[in-house]
Symmetry: C2
Subunit: 349 residues, 2 copies
């Protein structure tokens, strides 16, 4: 390890104190300092750790790869998530990472860990859901691995390619001051769905169905990611941790600030129907909506709106000041501090 790295970390620290993003940062530094120019493959690597997907130069177009795990009792519980929905969601959240790059997914590898007492019927349901998503988004399940474990976990790696030979991609690091911040669809539905299912809340059938769908059947914005890229958008991320937290990722990677007008944030109608005023906090911090958050000049955003099939809402602006920070303002332009602003997987809760 490089001596610089060794001196800037307190190695006796626990992972929970360092936090998920601190840990990723450390590991990324260890890896990049090891992959120097001697390694031919290192030179072919366009984007390593730190964006939605890894990217390297393929023979004719850049190749994308992304991996994500769902662990029982961390990312899902079997009390709330039926097996078939678990299968759909496990693949969908990975496809969402490819969508956030504007890429085209091609193959999926599935590593599945199961307790020995799992019923085969349930495993089959899991695969039915996964196969349904694979067919919907034209991905081939190419292989995988199964093993026993005390709890269910599913790790999926999705491989894909850039749309064009030139290999433009949406990245977190391409936002510029003066650009508009925009988001597809509506936010807060997934977090509202989770809370509804967890607490066993009863809403009208339409609200219930929509909140279930938002949490259990996220729809990766693959078509929209391709369209953003084609219309000239350069910076995007998918909303998995939460609007504020994911926007902060863009700000940090692009070394810019962000100013979001909270009354412009498109809050899910079903989340409002179920949770009233709390829906805004769910939209800002809840996460798992898997909508695309992007930045672009006003004209590019207008061009996107003309052709995209889902709502696109401008919610604020990228600023040169306060790099790495997200400032929320209310209708009067006063700073607004939400209660929940995304979460980190390792942070003690």
């Amino acid at each position: 390890m490089c001596p610089k790295l060794a001196s800037c970390y307190n190695w006796a620290m626990k992972v929970s104190e360092l936090g998920e993003f601190g840990l990723i940062d450390l590991l990324a530094k260890m890896i990049s300092s090891s992959q120097d120019k001697k390694l031919a493959l290192g030179q072919k690597l366009i984007l390593g750790i730190g964006d939605d997907a890894a990217v390297w130069r393929g023979d004719t177009s850049p190749q994308l790869a992304s991996t994500d795990s769902l662990f029982q009792d961390i990312h899902f519980t079997l009390e709330i998530t039926p097996w078939e929905e678990l299968g759909w969601k496990a693949l969908a959240v990975n496809l969402s990472d490819i969508a956030a790059m504007g890429g085209v997914p091609e193959y999926a590898l599935v590593s599945l860990a199961l307790p020995e007492s799992t019923e085969v019927d349930n495993v089959a349901a899991l695969y039915r859901g996964m196969i349904e998503a694979a067919q919907q988004f034209e991905v081939a399940i190419a292989g995988g691995d199964t093993c026993r474990a005390p709890l269910v976990s599913i790790t999926i790696t999705v491989l894909g390619r850039a749309q064009s030979q030139g290999g433009n991609m949406l990245t977190r690091a391409a936002a510029s001051p003066g650009e508009k911040i925009a988001v597809t669809g509506a936010l807060g539905g997934a977090a509202a769905g989770l809370e509804m299912l967890k607490k066993g809340l009863q809403f009208d059938p339409e609200t219930t169905a929509e909140l279930r769908r938002a949490f259990l059947r996220p729809w990766p914005r693959l078509a929209e990611g391709k369209l953003l890229l084609a219309r000239g958008v350069k910076a995007a991320i998918d909303i998995s941790d939460g609007l504020v937290s994911d926007l902060k990722h863009i700000c940090e990677a692009s070394r810019v600030g962000a100013r979001v007008e909270i009354e412009r944030v498109p809050v899910s109608a079903a989340a409002k129907a179920g949770f009233g005023e709390r829906a805004l906090a769910l939209a800002l911090g809840g996460g798992e909506d898997y909508e695309l958050l992007f930045t672009a000049g006003a004209e590019v955003v207008e061009k996107v709106k003309e052709t995209i099939s889902c709502p696109v809402t401008v919610i604020g602006e990228i600023t040169a000041e306060r790099a790495g920070e997200v400032v929320l303002v209310d209708t009067k332009g006063e700073p607004f501090y939400p209660n929940a602003a995304g979460w980190e997987h390792f942070a003690a809760r």
Copy 2:
């Protein structure tokens, strides 16, 4: 799901009753029946579930991908496996799958789950070991994912390519009657190392060091896999489950039988030094040696021996009779029944 599939499985069965290989078989059938000819990518898929790696047609050469998970208290314990060795091994076992195809590994994606109480120092050691293996075998760690979980688990996906544009590969399904069965290196060292570490046994320093290395620092036979392919070998597998169990995989995939003369099996000298007569059982059933087991005509095996840098031993012959079965015979040609013959991850032990 196809009605044929629905009728041939007892869906109320537990995963432990179906067994790991039964489960893989079921999932492979579900997936292949879903990926019909409508899907262009399905047509590009050369090998799906059921071999050491998945293979599909790339732009200039076939692409390989393989995924494998190591779970705490299932595949390793932290009492026995130091963090740095865990990192090495997690990558090495994946590279071994690419070696068993005769392929060239290129990129690795790492999905790491950790308890919040893990010390950062230990995570850094894990990555040091992984990076060491990546540098040794010229693989770029392209990305990954971290999350918290009650136990440590590491899922790695390795991407690679076939050596040649023509895209020959070593597969499990290419063995023919009359071919010799051969194996690289020596067997039983990894299982002996595990037992030594588990029971805290004391041997002479050389034996101890070699058994530790065999279990904790497996060496993927990448150079050897390439050479086998170049010399005309067609069928191979890496020994992860155990000699008998992995040879059975070749027999089933190739619809042939196998006859192994147990006195010809190259047993690790260190395993013999530590465990005497029990070493043979460890070599036959212990697994995790990550040597290559292959079949080829006698002349091809001779050509391999001339140029390969490790020992290669012929241990038996592929037969047309008793397809799918492995018959062990002793010096007198009498059938031999070992106590341990590989294990299945889901089988109750």
